[in-house]
Amino acid sequence: MKLDRAKRTLKNFDYLLFGAVAALVSIGIVFIHSASAWRGQWGELVQPVDYASKQLQWAVISVGVFFVILVPRYSRLKPFSIPFYLIVLAVLVVTLFIGTGPERAPVRRWIQIRIGGRRIADIQPSQLMEVALVGALAKYLMFKEVVRIRHILAVFAMTAVPMLLILKQPDLGTALLFIPLPLVMLFAAGARVRHLAWFVGLGAGMMPFFWVFIMKSYQKMRFLAWIEPYKYEKNAGWQYIHSRIAVGSGGLFGMGLGRGTQNSLKYLSENRTDFIFAVINEEWGFLGALLIVILYLVIILCGLGIAARTRDPFGRLLLVGVVALLATQVFINMGMNIGLMPITGLTLPFISYGGSSLLASFVAVGIMMNVAVHPVMVLSRDRF
């Protein structure tokens, strides 16, 4: 039985998906290496911390977690999805009280795990919520044959509550990920386009309210700087200008690995994390960026392909949700690197430095793969 299961896992394992992920992670480690060295006072190369090898350790751990995720049959976890969602919701509330943030920043985003007084890790509950929400929405929508307005309302409510909690932290970037998610999942579950359009219109109408009551002044500043970066060159416009310079300077072939001036002279801040795409563009140029985009498209198409092959509605919705999250995050991060989007502080999945981000991305792709390797027989009346 066990052997049979392993055989089936290997048979259904999506090597293309895993290959694309491995390629992205490898490229990421190379560029984290490039971005963590910089030229110091006398032009010498300084590498205060070898972030690349740290990222490699995280990659090993993440791959381990990925394979662990493949073991349980996802359909067995179905009953836990709503309770899991509620628990994470509670944790989000708690985070607002005991959470911590980056040094000196007045934010509450992380929960420190301490064992015997030693800080072991920081958990970011908002990232757990991404998975929990996808699970909960998939569970809620899976047997809705006709999606009615009240279902749509319920879905938006399930999304809005954690989103507001995350906005309160504040973490605009992660909160933004939660906007397309319910739309895509409702769309995939068969909601009427007309209804969805209504809600999208309503959401757009609420933007002024959002601007006045929810957005913090520094977030507004970032938005204004996005529109007129040169006006705020020395403060809020800095990253916009220098990331665009980095990207534009890359040209077709790039300046060469480790030779990007914006990167090595530290004009580009957050170059290991949020702005690593700009580093790739500066050093590998348009062709490098094209490669990255293709690899993401491979992952997304693989995900959607698995969804298409799956007959289990829960699995399908799970996949659509995970793909939507992933695609949104990639688009937002790339967008802010190239000036299409305001800066919100989101990492580039699989590439950006950071254990938490890498782990979350692997969990997402683990869920995809789990659905792929555990086909569930469902008797359905017709093709969806």
Binding site: F187, R244, I245, L265, S269, F286, L301
Partner: protein
């Protein structure tokens, strides 16, 4: 339906990615050059390097002004402001220890440095606000932006705490600076005047440019960008420092370098070193100058009478000495300025004022040289014409006195000829002569001698003096003995006697040595006139009874000259002596004035004598 919708989702994602690629194509393929230039502009810094200013020396090689490197202990306020109170206290204690200062002294210095920053900002803001549409929003914004920029920038730059400190202090400070944040030792050039007040009025001094000066001079350096100055620069304020600022000012160097985000240099792209400014050699002779200043200073110490002395080369117009007393020390002038202009203290005597070229004085009897020339040239008199002096001349109801007609003499010169009249400086003789000659000729000859216009000496702020044609009869009589509406500078007087010494050649005085000694033309008198004048001036000093005989006659050198005692209203008469030496073969001419000094021969004569003797002993 699910598969259709899945395809639509895939399509939307494709569109999103296509958008990203399109944007990348626009940035990287179409506008790459633009972004590369933007980046280049931001990582390349051009720094200008200050250049040392040229030196000013006398003709005999004594350095009067030079730029010397000084090391100063500086503070970077940005580092200090990050410290907590304990660290700051410790910092103050350490620096006090290094500089040998008290804690209170440190605080004072810190406050002064902060005040300098604030005043720089105020100055800059004021300048911006005064250049544009007054009160406009754009101007206010510009000023505000500049202020913000300076508030950010200046605290990051080293500010001087202890300027020009001894080597052991800088050595200790440098050793400590690795652990003491915000303590920096800098090296800069400082203008120094090694001989202090020697020729201070000629040399002038440098000072931080004021906004007014900036506006006045900023186009002087058009076309020579490397000499341009900025609002925080120093420029020559007065004297040679001002007049030859362009030559003295060095050429700025320029370094173009790549910097990282912390403004640390990475690579030098181009390096153009600064070039020291040119030296200026003066015509001043240090010993003669010293003699003049000492002699005037002695008079001033004794009597509190300010004075001036000028000595020029008869043939070339080289200014060998130019002194104005009291003087000042250009090394400390900016520090002492309040004291120097205080009207209740030293400022009463106007030490900053170069009397030799700026002072306008009535000339008194020295003008009799002009009267005699005019009379001889117009044929109003001959050298043998005689007039009788009874102590006064009565014209209508008015009595014009000779000096001998007043107390304590109450006498007259009797019947005398021209040479005797010059020797004894008889006013009555010249009253008569002046009346015969006429106002027009007097003024004409005064102008031939160069009065009423600048001599063109290469120093700023020269006064032209004043010569006015007398309107009434009494004015002619007054003018003939150098009173009335006549104001002259000591340099003009000196040039006049130089013309007498040099057979009518009017030299063009100058202070810079390699300015060719152009002649300012000829006075235009006949040789016979010249010989009479020469003889007359010689007798004044060298014949018993001459007004200069007792105080000016020298055993070392034959001096010829004329005394003058000019009525100056309140405060007493100005004392004059102008002459040349040696009589036989004139080399130098000189003029001395002592304000309210009384009798010319007694007060100004000895100063002139010491000048001539210094020349002889040279």
């Amino acid at each position: 339906m699910f598969h259709t919708r899945l395809k639509i989702v895939a399509f939307v994602i494709f569109v999103g990615m296509a958008l990203v690629l399109a944007r990348l194509g626009q940035m990287q393929l179409l506008k790459a050059d633009f972004y590369r230039e933007e980046g280049r502009r931001r990582r390349i810094r051009v720094r200008s390097l200050d250049a040392p200013r040229g030196a000013i020396t006398t003709r005999d090689g004594v350095v009067l002004a030079e730029d010397l490197p000084v090391r100063s202990v500086c503070v970077v306020f940005a580092n200090l402001d990050r410290m907590n109170k304990d660290d700051l206290d410790q910092w103050r204690a350490r620096v006090a220890d290094i500089a040998g200062d008290t804690l209170g002294g440190i605080d004072e210095r810190l406050a002064a440095a902060r005040e300098r920053i604030a005043s720089d900002i105020r100055k800059r803001k004021k300048y911006i606000l005064s250049h544009g549409v007054p009160g406009s929003a754009a101007l206010k914004k510009k000023a505000k932006n500049e202020e913000r920029f300076m508030r950010r920038k200046l605290p990051r730059m080293p500010q001087v705490l202890y300027e020009d400190v001894a080597f052991d202090v800088t050595a200790r400070a440098e050793a400590a600076s690795t652990e003491l944040d915000g303590l920096v030792v800098t090296e800069s050039m400082k203008r120094k005047y090694p001989r202090g007040s020697l020729a201070a009025h000629v040399v002038g001094y440098t000072a931080k440019v004021t906004p007014e000066e900036y506006d006045l001079y900023r186009f002087d350096y058009l076309g020579d960008e490397s000499k341009r100055f900025f609002l925080r620069d120093t420029i020559g304020r007065v004297g040679i420092e001002r007049r030859y600022d362009f030559e003295l000012r060095g050429r700025r160097g320029r370094i173009e370098e790549v910097i990282n985000v912390n403004e640390q240099p990475q690579k030098i792209l181009s390096d153009e070193p600064s070039k020291s400014g040119g030296d200026v050699v003066l015509t001043i002779d240090s010993r003669l100058q010293e003699t003049a200043q000492q002699a005037l200073a002695e008079v001033f110490a004794r009597t509190k009478h300010p004075g001036a002395a000028v000595c020029i080369d008869v043939h070339t117009g080289d200014v060998l000495a130019m002194a104005s007393c009291p003087s000042y020390d250009p090394n400390t002038v900016s520090r002492d300025i309040a004291k120097l202009i205080d009207p209740d203290g030293l400022g009463k005597y106007r030490p900053m004022y170069n009397r030799a070229i700026r002072g306008g004085y009535p000339l008194g009897s020295v003008f009799k040289i002009v009267t005699a020339t005019a009379a001889l040239e117009t044929g109003a008199i001959t050298p043998s014409t005689k007039f009788t002096c009874d102590g006064y001349l009565k014209v209508g109801k008015r009595k014009f006195y000779c000096w001998i007609g007043r107390a304590p003499y109450h006498g007259g010169h009797g019947t005398i000829d021209l040479l005797e009249a010059i020797k004894v400086s008889c006013n009555v003789y010249f009253y008569n002569t002046g009346r015969l000659t006429g106002a027009k000729a007097l003024v004409e000859w005064a102008e031939h001698y160069g009065f009423g216009r600048v001599t063109g000496v290469d120093l700023p702020l020269e006064s032209p003096g004043n010569v006015e044609t007398p309107q009434r009869g009494g004015d002619v009589i007054n003018l003939s003995i150098g009173q009335g509406r006549l104001l002259v500078t000591p340099l003009q007087v000196c040039r006049m006697v130089a013309a007498v010494a040099g057979e009518g050649k009017l030299p063009a005085p100058h202070v810079r040595l390699d300015v060719p000694g152009r002649s300012a033309g000829l006075v235009g008198f006949k040789t016979s006139t010249w010989q009479t004048l020469r003889k007359g001036l010689c007798d004044v000093v060298n014949v018993k009874g001459g007004t200069g005989y007792r105080t000016v006659k020298s055993d070392v050198i034959t001096i010829a000259g004329k005394t003058g005692t000019a009525q100056a209203g309140r405060g007493g008469d100005h004392a004059w002596f102008a002459g040349f030496a040696p009589y036989e073969n004139p080399e130098i001419a000189f003029a001395v004035v002592i304000e309210h000094g009384g009798h010319g021969g007694a007060a100004a004569g000895p100063v002139a004598k010491s000048l001539a003797e210094a020349w002889a002993k040279r």
